[in-house]
Symmetry: C2
Subunit: 299 residues, 2 copies
Amino acid sequence: MSILVVGSVALDSIKTPYSRCEEVLGGSATFFSLSARLFSQVNLVAVIGRDFPAKYLKLFKDKGINIKGLEIAEGETFRWEGEYEWDFNSAKTLATHLNVFSSFNPKIPAEYKHSKYVFLANIDPEIQERVLRQVINPKLVACDTMNHWIDSKKKQLTKFLKKVDILFLNDGEARQLSEENNLLKAAKAIFKFGPKRIIIKKGEHGAMLFSKNSVFCVPAFLLEEVYDPTGAGDTFAGGVMGYLAKQDNLSESALRRALVNGNIMATFAVEDFGPWRLVSLTKPEVEKRLKEFKRLTCF
Amino acid sequence: MSILVVGSVALDSIKTPYSRCEEVLGGSATFFSLSARLFSQVNLVAVIGRDFPAKYLKLFKDKGINIKGLEIAEGETFRWEGEYEWDFNSAKTLATHLNVFSSFNPKIPAEYKHSKYVFLANIDPEIQERVLRQVINPKLVACDTMNHWIDSKKKQLTKFLKKVDILFLNDGEARQLSEENNLLKAAKAIFKFGPKRIIIKKGEHGAMLFSKNSVFCVPAFLLEEVYDPTGAGDTFAGGVMGYLAKQDNLSESALRRALVNGNIMATFAVEDFGPWRLVSLTKPEVEKRLKEFKRLTCF
């Protein structure tokens, strides 16, 4: 099954204690697509400026990602500058230049409209809603969000959540959205807004899948070297959605395996700067790490 | 197999956002014993003052804990006052009155000297060493430590670690002891000090078992209500050591199951103030939660 992803394609400048890079390919839709493409066909919708490097367009095509929905607008591409210190769990944003992304009004190409699996990355919830209206009879709708939208558009976000099957968010955002400190209570409160399932990302501590009657916890796969955590959350979501779309199965056990796959995908994202490890990544490498992870967690 | 535990028995005064309690039974050896006693015979060594409530002595006896090694000294019992805010991961110490604990010089009773399983709770590493010299041919020696000893007696601690089979410590302490931020690197550095295995406790994020050639991660069991995290780490260690002593098996798979048992025991410790939930706890309740945990983590 093919997946529609709507989000950002950006040029990131990142500083970590190890190194720095300038204007490397980034954005939520980029990381999601590079991850999900190892499982399923990905239809990408985003906006870039005239300055977007041709080599990155070629990269998407080479990786089999459908970019018919990648709009090229007058102006400059979205740019983000961030810094990580030794604690890789949180980025410090140094600058955000939305550029063409500030007037992003996604148009879903005709050939994408029947996508059965839809992922609305971290964008304005009103735009997420507008996108969803253009999709015909999706089987699974998932979205991500962030503190900025919880702060500024909570009403629109919670209204939109009624239409969502899976909400992805991190632990801090779950606490903020629910106004509950305890994550079990937070999930209960968020269920009242309407999503059928909630996936809470906990960075180096793994992830949790909340269904109405069960909770599944997956511990993180420890890496000795973390070079750049940018995009790990979207890579995780790409693995979850990619696996589900490939299996075309929404049972609890399929969802749990999807979470494990997302977890493994995220470990590759952080192994190199920007998206480069995902670009070179092959399915046998993913399978190998999945096996290691199973050994790591069985008792 | 019986377990020898050497540590503190204290009177704790604890404040949390929910409530407060004064002079409740506490101390590392208390939580460890109340946990391990559900699996194996526990031989306790600690020191208390003349003011120690008789009802607590009776409690130890009622729970089948051997207190022949519980020395009653002239003076007052060790007292600790602490506070937790909404983030239950770290306690703020308001006051520590070591009292009789400041001159604690553990004497191991003759009938304890052949204990095969030994747990040296978080006390001065020089005392841990002195205790170990009194034990005849133990099968497994485990110890805990804390930031205070890493700061003030690192040399003595690392010397003692050569004699240790399992070192228990939390993630912050592992980073401090190894001077490495990444936990995999931290474990590698700590192995050089000599322990055969390292168990890193991560509070609400679970625990990790490092062996020379493998890592096992266990996620935490989420609770909706955490009332008081005091003693959770010692309760965890009590579950791990209790399980190992009961099985009398030190294979990797036994160690993993021990970690899961410790993890489950810790969830009970935090469900009520002080040690009260552990006092009322029964083996069938533990078995039931273990089953729930397996459902929670299987994929």
